[in-house]
Amino acid sequence: MKNVTNDLILKTATTIIVFLILGFSVYLFFAGHNAPGGGFIGGLMTSGAFVLLYIAYGFQTMNRVVKIDFKTFIPIGLTIAVLSGVGSFLYGQPFLSHTDGYFHLPIIGKAHLATAMIFDLGVYFTVIGVTMTIILSIAKDEGEQVENAE
């Protein structure tokens, strides 16, 4: 590497900010269904956190640390989403029927849970998979060109 940039501030800030973003994305994911939020926006926010990590630490470092193929997120998410719709067949209800109810959970207490959340989880995974695949493929393209140029 010829130009080593001094990005100490970015790296330090990123380590803290990433957790804030991830936490907020989980909050957004659960806020969905009744309030602004949901799987799509939560997934985008999570990918935002990942992208920030890639920007701060670089492609090679991240690939060493995060050994996940984001492409597999897409079929996993799709399967969850479609099966959550098919689940209604078991109860003799039309496709995509959903139900909800109030439950008492340990620690959290009274919570409103909906099966639409399962569908949202599918959306969440799919969005992460698609966003990360697109961004990383574009990033990889550029990396190859730089290597060729040198």
Binding site: L78, T79, V82, Q93, P94, F95
Partner: protein
């Protein structure tokens, strides 16, 4: 409520997702594709028989009642087209096993293929204009993937055009749906039909109708919006061209058929008269294109356009007989276009070129291929006893009954020119001196003829067995002329 109606969409969708998971095991992918296309065909045929016996199946997704929620309507017209789609899927899958290179298979061809089938079936089945847009997007997404798969120079150039034109028409589509919603306050097709009927399609509604027509005309490749089609469809490998040629434009035609037989039917003297002119020009210009080239694949791709023109003529005439002709022709054309693409693909694979001037005498070593092509050519041109004849006969009969002699003349001249364009392939490609000895040939026809044979059997059956198929098709056409049947099936009060 009936969950049966969603199965034609759900099965290919789930299969497609499953194929992404196991993409690395090539044999397993092929085995599952091979099994699932037959399962799909069996399931949709069964649903089709239920629909023909008991009337349309309506699924209100998520248990939301009809005008408010999303509805999937499996009526006779939709099921006939879905069954044909799945028949083509069977043929395409087996042609792909034989002809597709390993690289394309590795990059998710079979998964995209299943998603395309899911999108096309969804477009036929949906009872909601906005979801028609959604399913258009589903099938277009899959088709974007398929057209660029392999990434040759020609494919990249053509896919850019293809994506831009489709993106533009999708934007126009969703804008038009928004216009329509702002005027009548619904996107449910049955309720749209009721509300447009209430105000007798005044002023702005006809403008919206024409905008919608432009969208579907772009997708369906009508004059003058067909310019993008022939080259884009002939750029990818044969099996993908066949899928596109057989299915995608037909979704556009189906949408025009549905929207302009159910919703916008109160200004016939303006809209449908306009369709007849469009149909005439489409037939003429399409066939001129087909005559202008020596590239075998391009000839078949150009021949998609006049076929769309014939179907439009039936919609324009808008009588029960003409509509029956349109539906018959639609089914016939889906089958025969797939068969023709497979045949010219096989010819090109054997001779190693798409240029007709460099082929010759193929019938010497490939008699079966030659005679199959001959049958397909006659069926395309509409000669008895094949399926094209019945469709064209009904269309022209309907046009004569309604005194549209102009389109009859154009149709007959067009048919003759179609025959000329396609028989040119037969004369130059199959007759004459054999250019290549058997050992010089670039590929064998082994296994490639089985899918074609399957499709040709249906072409012949649709022609010779017209006595059996015709009453059902005429029944669909009768129900299209009377929109209240569809409306009552969806909105029960």
């Amino acid at each position: 409520m009936s969950n049966l109606a969603i199965l034609p969409i759900l099965l290919p969708l789930l299969t497609g997702i499953m194929l992404v998971f196991i993409n690395k095991q090539k044999t397993l992918v092929k085995v599952i594709t091979g099994i699932m296309v037959f399962v799909n065909l069996a399931v949709v045929s069964w649903i089709g028989s239920v629909v023909f016996q008991e009337g349309p199946l309506v699924l209100e997704a998520g248990d939301w009642p009809a005008p408010f929620g999303i509805v999937i309507v499996a009526d006779q017209l939709a099921m006939v087209l879905v069954i044909t789609t799945n028949l083509i899927a069977v043929a395409s899958a087996f042609y792909a096993f034989r002809s597709l290179d390993e690289q394309r298979e590795r990059y998710y061809f079979y998964a995209l293929f299943q998603l395309l089938i899911a999108g096309v079936s969804g477009a036929f089945l949906t009872g909601d204009l906005f979801n028609l847009f959604v399913f258009f997007e589903v099938l277009l997404m899959a088709s974007y993937g398929l057209i660029v798969l392999g990434g040759t120079k020609e494919q990249l150039r053509e896919s850019l055009k293809y994506i831009l034109i489709n993106l533009f028409s999708s934007i126009l589509f969703v804008t038009t749906v928004a216009f329509l919603y702002s005027v009548v306050g619904t996107v449910n097709m049955a309720q749209l039909a009721e509300r447009v009927a209430d105000v007798e399609q005044q002023g702005i509604l006809t403008t919206i109708a024409i905008l919608l027509f432009l969208v579907f005309a772009t997708k369906g490749a009508l004059f003058p919006l067909y310019f993008w089609l022939p080259r884009s469809y002939s750029a990818p490998p044969t099996v993908i061209s066949a899928l596109f040629g057989a299915l995608l434009t037909k979704v556009g035609v189906y949408s025009i058929l549905r929207v302009f037989s159910l919703i916008f039917i109160y200004k016939l003297e303006f809209t449908h008269q306009f369709f007849i002119y469009m149909a005439g020009f489409t037939i003429l210009f399409g066939v001129i294109g087909a005559l202008s080239t020596n590239n075998v694949k391009l000839i078949v791709a150009y021949n998609i356009i006049p076929a769309v023109g014939f179907m439009m003529a039936g919609i324009g005439v808008f009588s029960a007989t003409a509509l029956a002709g349109t539906i018959y022709y639609l089914v016939h054309d889906m089958i025969i276009k797939a068969a023709l693409f497979f045949l010219v693909g096989t010819m090109a694979a054997i001779s190693g070129t798409y240029d007709l001037r460099k082929m010759g005498g193929l019938i010497k070593h490939h008699p079966l291929l030659g005679w199959m092509f001959f049958i397909a050519a006659l069926a395309l041109a509409g000669l008895p006893p094949f399926s094209g004849f019945i469709g064209k006969f009904l269309l022209l009969k309907g046009a004569v009954e309604e005194d549209h002699y102009g389109i009859v003349a154009v149709g007959l001249i067009g048919s003759l020119l179609i025959l000329l364009s396609i028989i040119k392939i037969f004369l130059n490609g199959f007759w004459g001196e054999a250019r290549l000895a058997p050992e010089q040939e670039k590929a064998s026809e082994n296994g490639r003829l089985f899918p074609v044979a399957l499709l040709l059997i249906f072409t012949i059956a649709l022609g010779l067995g017209a006595e059996f198929f015709y009453p059902g098709i005429q029944g669909i056409a009768d129900s299209l002329v009377d929109p209240s049947i569809y409306i009552d099936a969806v909105i029960k009060e």
